[in-house]
């Protein structure tokens, strides 16, 4: 019999080694979160550093702000006959994210504001069962980012202010996929890619206070290209194939897209503020994802995965109602269309048009201290789609609940 002196073509990784699309999070300030995720026009507190750096110089004083959000996503999957009537769900996980901001006008009445912020604008986490039907597409994805943003803001006059922040982004990614090589017991192999990366960008904005009752804002947060250099590529395969799947390192990059936001806020009556935001997200930056391995073999080739995201426009609407000096209530919602086109719907990020419902409350037990609580509920339409690259399809639905709590202290 012919011996296996030549294993010619790639077994693996001709199949998809999929990686998470950027999962955009809008959890950077709890008041804004509770109002549907908008805040471009109105400088609510020091978390305006994220929503519009121009608002920093309009705050009444220096503030310290910290919050924690608990994202709890769940995705379900079903195959329709005749493909099979298999169903699966991701395991329940909680992803905590934190925000921290410090800053405000240099002194009372100063035209200059300075501050620094730390927040998480992108993340993704889905854990499917290791042997589920899509395991050769993805088993587990965990993407985390943290942005650190020192910021300066200048109040040109009572009418207009400007601000800009430098972004240093750092993050990690871990993804696991079953490999279609089986050991003597019939168990699949596994690829585990994990790495750390960083990138830079900026966040700039203008805010216009037309009247006491009407404000406008515009913010541009640049694209941040996260470079992952020297990530670990670990392969669990039968020992006779270990030479074809050497544990090696990889380089990759993940574009976190630019977002242009415009907003308007108005105060029709004394205790009520209503605001609306529109976000234009340049998702087309996420065209494909490439993994370049330090060592390739006849079986292990560099991987180029198509995603072909399209740009999106998100609409956000929210209101803040002050019941008293101490208590305010917020409510809002958003329509967040998906950047994922038909043919690119994968279990890595089975995205669909999302409806976001939010609410929250703030309470001031002391004159300078505010306690904030917010809740976000995201549901997506059921989406029947296919990831052509892996020829894997089905119906997906994702829901996520995110409770959040925070503190803000005004010095």
């Amino acid at each position: 019999m012919r011996k296996l002196t030549l294993l010619a073509a790639p077994l693996l990784l001709s199949s998809a080694l999929s990686f998470g699309a950027a999962y955009q999070l809008n959890l950077q300030g709890l008041r804004q979160l509770a109002m549907g995720g908008g805040g471009t026009a109105w400088p609510w507190d020091v978390s305006t550093l994220f929503y519009n750096p121009a608002g920093l110089s309009r705050l009444s004083g220096v503030e310290a702000y910290g919050s924690v959000q608990f994202i709890m996503p769940s995705t379900s999957y079903a195959q329709s006959p005749p493909a099979g009537y298999y169903t699966a769900s991701t395991k329940m996980q909680t992803f905590p994210t934190v925000n921290f901001y410090l800053g405000g006008p240099l002194q009372k009445g100063s035209k200059w504001g300075l501050g620094i912020g730390l927040y998480t604008p992108y993340g993704d986490g889905l854990r499917w069962d290791n042997t589920w039907a899509g395991s050769n597409v993805i088993q587990n994805i965990d993407l985390r980012t943290i942005f650190i943003q020192p910021t300066v803001s200048y109040r040109i006059n009572d009418f207009i202010s400007a601000g800009i922040g430098f972004i240093y982004a750092t993050g990690s990614v871990d993804l696991k996929q079953a490999l279609p090589v089986q050991d003597q017991n019939g168990n699949n192999g596994q690829a585990d890619l994990s790495g750390q990366g960083n990138g830079t960008g900026f966040n700039a904005g203008l805010q216009i206070k037309a009247t006491d009752k009407l404000q406008f804002g515009i913010t541009y947060r640049s694209k941040v290209n996260m470079r992952l250099n020297g990530g670990d590529a670990k392969f669990t395969v039968p020992s006779s194939l270990s030479g074809y799947f050497p544990n090696t390192s990889f380089n990759s990059s993940l574009p976190l897209p630019a977002v242009l936001s415009v907003g308007v806020g108005c105060r029709p009556i004394k205790n009520l503020v209503i605001q609306a935001d529109v976000n234009f997200t340049q998702w087309n930056a996420f065209d494909s994802l490439n993994f370049d391995y330090a060592q390739t073999t006849a079986q292990l080739h560099n991987t180029h995965l198509p995603f072909r995201y399209k740009n999106t426009v998100t609409y956000r609407l929210g209101a803040n109602y002050a019941i008293s000096h101490k208590i305010a209530l917020m409510v809002g919602g958003a329509w967040d269309p998906t950047p994922v086109q038909n043919g690119f719907v994968s279990p890595v990020l089975p995205d669909a048009d999302r409806i976001v419902l939010t609410g929250g409350v703030t309470y001031k037990p002391l004159e300078r201290l505010t306690i904030l609580a917010a809740f976000e509920y995201v549901t997506s339409a059921k989406r029947d789609g296919n990831y052509d690259y892996s020829n894997f399809g089905g119906t997906y639905q994702t829901k996520a609940a995110t409770p959040a709590i925070g503190l803000c202290y005004n010095f």
Partner: protein
């Protein structure tokens, strides 16, 4: 009022922290058999139907046969029990199956290759198990369409003899009719041409009395095939007929390249000297093998580009024994142009017979020949790419002819798709990647 509503909203959301409420609930729609009664399904065929793999019949292969896969999917839409003539223990019958293991070549190179399994737990594997029947899977390795009306066939073929009710008197057709099937699958005819191909064309083409290794004459094939189909479906059973794949595209014939003779300049010069005056010349690099050819005045010639080398050609003889260079590769390891043409033309003619029968009885017809050709370019299933390469491709077992459990599952899905289309049914496909492929040490 506004206050209260919002408060309630927030409390409602916090209650959702238990998250049962946040888990999407997707229900798939229900499958259906359409007009089909799948309560008694019988699979008629040869080694492919029996679940033969890795150069032998063994229990794990049987448990992963495509009829077994079909029966599991049928069970979702009213299908009944499916009894296979399983071997009583794990060992293959009658010879061990191949497994992958490190082997050392004549040059001392260690590489993975197929070796006989050391599983010897095979006592009694040839004993007749007819008392466990009647069986839903009557696939018999080696059986041809032209054997199907032969009384006493069980004496000639031990794979039949081990489960036929009356091996010495009955015909294979009798065994297929023991159950009053409501649904038949028939994948017959491959061996009417395969034996000729895998013996390098050693047999005869369409002799009056075809033995295994010959190509069956078309009129006989047609007579027997039509008789079998007529008998199976005369009582109104429904079913599916599957045509014959072109065997020249399988790894058994495509793994060893025709130009596998790699020479240095010095080696080429040496061979040119040895072959001076014959018109045969060599060059540095890849050269076509030298093969035996009785039609040539010198009894040998250089292989043509479209001719095929069998997987069973001894590798050590090629590497160290001078086969293909100083000595010609014996003709029984080569499928030459004429032989390939015989195989292809008879495959085509047999498939015409099968198509005609399917049309006549209004049965579903699976063009497995075309489907398996798509394996050459690759079939992508849920992130795994299957192709027709030996070992790497994942679909063909270590004998290069029969399939892995995953390959058989692909075949089952193809058959299900055609059944669904022909009978307007909605029978779910199976998850190919769930089953075994090639196992590596």
């Amino acid at each position: 009022m506004v206050y209260n509503m919002k408060k309630i909203y927030i409390i409602g959301c916090l209650a959702a922290l238990s998250f049962a409420a946040c888990k999407p609930n997707l229900n798939s729609s229900k499958p259906s058999a359409g007009p089909l009664d799948l309560s008694v399904y019988v699979a008629v065929g040869n080694s492919l139907t029996a679940g033969y793999a890795d150069n032998s019949l063994y229990r794990e292969g049987q448990l992963n046969s495509y009829p077994k896969r079909l029966s599991e999917q049928f069970a979702l839409v009213g299908g009944g029990a499916f009894v296979q003539p399983l071997l009583p223990s794990s060992a293959a019958y009658p010879t061990p199956q191949y497994v992958l293991a490190p082997t050392t070549s004549c040059t001392g190179t260690v590489s993975l290759g197929p070796v006989p399994s050391s599983d010897t737990n095979g006592t009694g594997n040839g004993n007749n198990i007819a008392s466990q029947g009647p069986f839903n899977n009557v696939g018999v390795p080696g059986i041809r369409a032209v054997d199907y009306l032969l009384a006493g066939y069980g004496v000639l073929n031990p794979y039949a003899g081990r489960f036929y009710a009356n091996p010495s008197t009955q015909t294979p057709l009798d065994e297929a009719l023991r159950l009053k099937a409501t649904f038949y699958s028939v994948w017959l005819g491959s061996n009417d041409v395969l034996g000729y191909a895998t013996s390098g064309g050693a047999g005869s083409v369409a002799p009056a009395v075809p033995f295994p290794g010959d190509i069956s004459p078309l009129p006989l094939f047609q007579y027997e095939y039509d008789s079998v189909i007529g008998a199976l479906f005369k009582n109104g059973a429904k079913g599916v007929l599957i045509n014959i794949p072109d065997v020249t595209a399988i790894p058994f014939f495509t793994t060893i390249p025709h130009n596998g003779l790699t020479l240095s300049a010095a080696q080429a010069a040496g061979l040119n000297a040895a072959y001076a005056g014959t018109g045969i010349t060599f060059k540095a690099g890849a050269n076509n093998f030298i093969i035996q050819d009785a039609a040539s005045p010198i009894g040998l010639r250089m292989m043509k580009d479209d001719e095929l080398v069998l997987l069973t050609t001894p590798q050590d003889s090629l590497t160290c024994g001078g086969w293909g260079s100083l000595k010609p590769i014996p003709a029984n390891y080569i499928l030459d142009e004429t032989e390939i043409s015989n195989v292809k033309s008879y495959t085509e003619s047999y498939n015409q017979v099968i198509l005609t029968a399917a049309t006549k009885y209004n049965l579903a017809y699976v063009d497995m020949n075309s489907y398996l050709k798509t394996l050459a370019t690759g079939i992508l299933f849920n992130g795994v790419n299957y192709n027709a390469q030996y070992v790497n491709g994942g679909a063909f077992s270590l004998d290069g002819v029969h399939l892995t459990p995953r390959g058989y599952a692909l075949v089952a899905n193809k058959i299900l798709s055609v059944i669904n289309q022909h009978y307007s049914a909605n029978i779910p496909l199976t998850d190919v990647n769930k089953y075994g492929g090639i196992r590596f040490p």
